[in-house]
Symmetry: C2
Subunit: 97 residues, 2 copies
């Protein structure tokens, strides 16, 4: 049988999804990704968008001072528990060192 | 005496500061600004950053479909009640129709 999971993990290697953990745990994740990549994507949806910006600003101001960021925003459709479709805002910040 | 206040109000004409009000009230403010300007800045700090993205996405998806957005993020220093300096993340989204 073909093992597809490791390939997908590889493709997501330089992506950090920001959720409800403390900001610094995502900063650490970004710094770890920067060890092997010149470019790291910091992604978030909904209320976590503010935290994603905090993460990127912390990386730029405290750790990787020459890093550049480029921001893309968008909308995704998700289903809530009752199957109703909701629009949720997304952010994708590309950090390049 | 020179009246400086109206001049400042004029300069801020095409800026909408997003805070804790419902998203739709800021969407309305942006649409009002678009009546007189080709470019509107949607700005926010801290937790309101997520709402600012919601505002821009609502304007683009529901009202001004040909609008383009460009996003800049940054950090500002503010003082809390005790005078301690805190870093707060900022966002400035330029909407152009």
């Amino acid at each position: 049988m073909t093992e597809t999971k490791p390939i997908r993990a590889k493709a997501d290697d330089n992506v950090v999804f920001v959720g409800k953990k403390p900001t610094m745990s995502y900063v650490l994740a970004v710094l770890t990704q920067f060890d092997n990549n010149k470019e790291v994507h910091v992604k978030a949806r909904g209320r976590s968008i503010s935290t994603a910006v905090d993460v990127v600003e912390a990386v730029k101001n405290k750790f990787v001072r020459d890093a550049k960021s480029q921001v893309a925003i968008g909308t995704e459709q998700v289903e809530d528990e009752t199957g109703r479709k909701l629009n949720v805002s997304t952010i994708d910040i590309t950090l390049t060192k």
